[in-house]
């Protein structure tokens, strides 16, 4: 087997090794181990995407056992895209964190544990994106959850611990619900491999209702972990109480990882209509999330809460793909390409936005939005980052958000379900309302006092780079659409039963 075929395994092993190494490495070394691993991981992710584009999707049999007994990793287009997203944003977060967590500050929280937990989270995110086994999804979900809770509570003060505990309990509920779902699914089908399950489920049989209940439970668990309204209650506090690099990673990557598992299960594993009403319900909740999250973001007065609620709203867009499943290959390639584009572009913009928000918070010495007047003059780079990331949140051209909105709207209208397009349009307007409310404060005078900029320019220019990447991401849409079409997700999501 060629080295290229081993890439899925390497992508899990490399950050795992780095996680262990950072744990035993001293304070002077750990960040460089993590940085090195981030670079290696990005290279591996690029290689994975290149190989997927080159040879198409392939399965990697862990330990050589093979499904259904063993666990397979699946390297297909969407997985490669998510792994690449995790790598790019992860690299940025790592670089940002090297400036954020001062090495020479002995009291800085997280000095010991950030790097280990962060590398561990990276491991589990890669695993989550690549796994093709429904039970393995459970394991990866829990590993992501445990490391994410640890990172969210990293500061160790009461607020962070409280948010972390809530996050943990949401995780526990989701974990147990998912496990029960898998148990029911297995009892009905005696199979855990998602590709095989797809075939088994399409045939139907005596255990069909049990399998449907199992899938419904699994989906409910993933909805809770993806923070789709109304299961979003844990997200704003967990994402805003964390240190800035962690907020960025949680908002940009973790919800995307769980969303990707959902994509695999609902589109890749379950035939359309197998669980009655499920897809439409997900679409409706998505539309509600867009509206509700935006309105909440509009009402926030604390900057990180504001950004977190915007994540709640943006997650909603990702669910518009589900009610379109089964509408034919053309529509599905538009819609699937659209959500993948949205996931990627939002990941880039949101990590940049969180970093900028955190830096603004540190420099103004407050998280009160109304006390950040005049930032456009006193902190122009950070304000520009907020503005450019805002363009992506609004889905205006030339951001990737525009591309995804256009593709999703076109797909909805083609199937006659134009109401989703209206929800998308309304969401864009509400996003404009909440972004410009904040920008108007930053553009107004007279300026509030703020601390001088940190010497580390990566605290300012790195987020701007991420926001710029998102701003022009529509030009990456051909690549994203090509990746979306490689592998079983598109093919299976498009077939009408």
């Amino acid at each position: 087997m060629s080295l290229g075929a081993q890439l899925p395994a390497l992508l899990v092993l490399a950050p795992l090794a780095a996680s262990a190494l950072t744990f035993i490495a001293g304070r002077n070394v750990d960040r460089y181990v993590a940085l090195g691993c981030a670079v290696v991981n990005t290279a591996l992710a690029v290689a994975l995407a290149a190989r997927v584009l080159d040879v198409g999707a392939w399965r990697y049999e862990v330990g050589g056992w093979g499904a259904p007994l063993g666990i397979d990793l699946v390297a297909d287009g969407p997985a490669a895209l998510f792994v690449l997203l995790v790598a790019v944003v992860g690299l940025a977060v790592t670089v940002f964190a090297t400036a954020y967590f001062h090495r020479d500050d002995p009291n800085a929280y997280g000095n010991g544990h950030f790097w280990t937990l962060w590398m561990f989270m990276w491991t589990s995110l890669n695993g989550l994106c690549l796994t093709g086994d429904a039970f393995n999804v459970y394991v990866c979900l829990e590993l992501v959850g445990i490391s994410a809770v640890g990172l969210a509570a990293l500061k160790g003060d009461a607020r962070a611990l409280r948010a972390g505990a809530r996050y943990l309990f949401a995780n526990m509920l989701a974990a147990m619900t998912y496990l029960l779902g898998v148990a029911l699914l297995y009892s009905a089908t005696a199979n855990l491999d998602m590709a095989m399950l797809r075939v088994v489920l399409a045939e139907g049989g005596p255990g069909e209702s049990g399998a449907a209940v199992g899938i419904a439970l699994m989906v409910a668990a993933l909805v809770l972990k993806t923070a789709l309204v109304p299961a979003h209650f844990w997200l704003p506090s967990a994402h805003s109480a964390a240190p800035t690099p962690v907020s960025a990673a949680l908002s940009a990557l973790v919800v995307k990882g769980t969303y990707f598992a959902l994509l695999r299960i609902v589109l890749g594993m379950t035939p359309p209509g197998f669980v009655p009403g499920l897809n439409v319900l997900l679409g409706v909740l998505g539309a509600v999330a867009i509206i509700w999250g935006s309105i909440q973001a509009l009402l926030q007065t604390r900057i990180k809460q504001f950004v977190a609620y915007s994540t709640v709203a943006q997650i909603g867009y990702l669910f518009i793909v589900f009610p379109l499943a089964g509408a034919g290959a053309d529509v599905m390639s538009l819609a699937l390409g659209g959500v993948l584009l949205h996931a990627a572009t939002h990941g880039l913009a949101k990590s940049g936005l969180f970093m900028a928000a955190g830096s603004l918070m540190d420099r103004f010495g407050t998280d009160d939005l109304n006390r950040m007047r005049g930032a456009a003059r006193t902190a122009p780079v950070l304000t520009m980052t907020v503005a450019l990331a805002g363009v992506t949140m609004m889905g205006l051209p030339p951001s990737g958000g525009f591309g995804s909105k256009f593709q999703l709207a076109t797909a909805s209208i083609s199937t006659g379900q134009w109401w989703w397009a209206v929800a998308l349009g309304l969401g864009g307007l509400l996003a404009a309302a909440y972004m410009f409310r904040v920008l108007a404060i930053m553009l107004s005078g007279p300026a509030d006092a703020l601390a001088p900029a940190d010497a580390a320019i990566r605290l300012e220019w790195l987020p701007l780079g991420l926001a710029l990447a998102a701003l022009f991401f529509v030009f990456a849409a051909p690549l994203v659409n090509e990746l979306a079409a490689i592998g079983p997700l598109l093919a299976s999501g498009a077939v009408t039963p």
């Binding site: 829990e142 607020r159 526990m172 898998v182 297995y186 918070m361």
Partner: protein, 106 residues
């Protein structure tokens, strides 16, 4: 009623009790214990399912799943307990619904 069905139904009941505890109890420790009860219920369901094969041979996969599940639950519990302990030390509270004393956040 066959044995595995008793196990499965009992497991489902225990799962529901645990879910109730996790959602309704306010004490952090109670919540952690609730999650553990949920887990135990699912493990019973899984073990019962392992018996249910046509040829009468026990299916090993559910047992492997139970083992994995136990490990995961242990990790979640440990994390929950350490957070609860630290939270109690810092604030004297054992209940997430009460607002902690004002704290600064970076």
């Amino acid at each position: 009623m066959s044995t595995y069905l008793i196990y499965a139904v009992g497991g489902a009941l225990i799962f529901s009790i645990g879910t109730y505890a996790l959602l309704a109890q306010r004490h952090i420790m109670h919540k952690v214990i609730g999650a553990n009860i949920m887990g135990s219920g699912i493990f019973m369901v899984l073990i019962a399912l392992g018996k249910r094969t046509p040829d009468g041979v026990t299916d090993p996969v559910p047992q492997a799943m139970v083992l994995t599940g136990i490990v995961v639950t242990v990790a979640l519990t440990a994390l929950g307990l350490s957070i609860a302990k630290r939270y109690y030390t810092l604030t004297g509270l054992d209940d997430l619904d009460q607002d902690p004393p004002a704290c600064d956040g970076r």
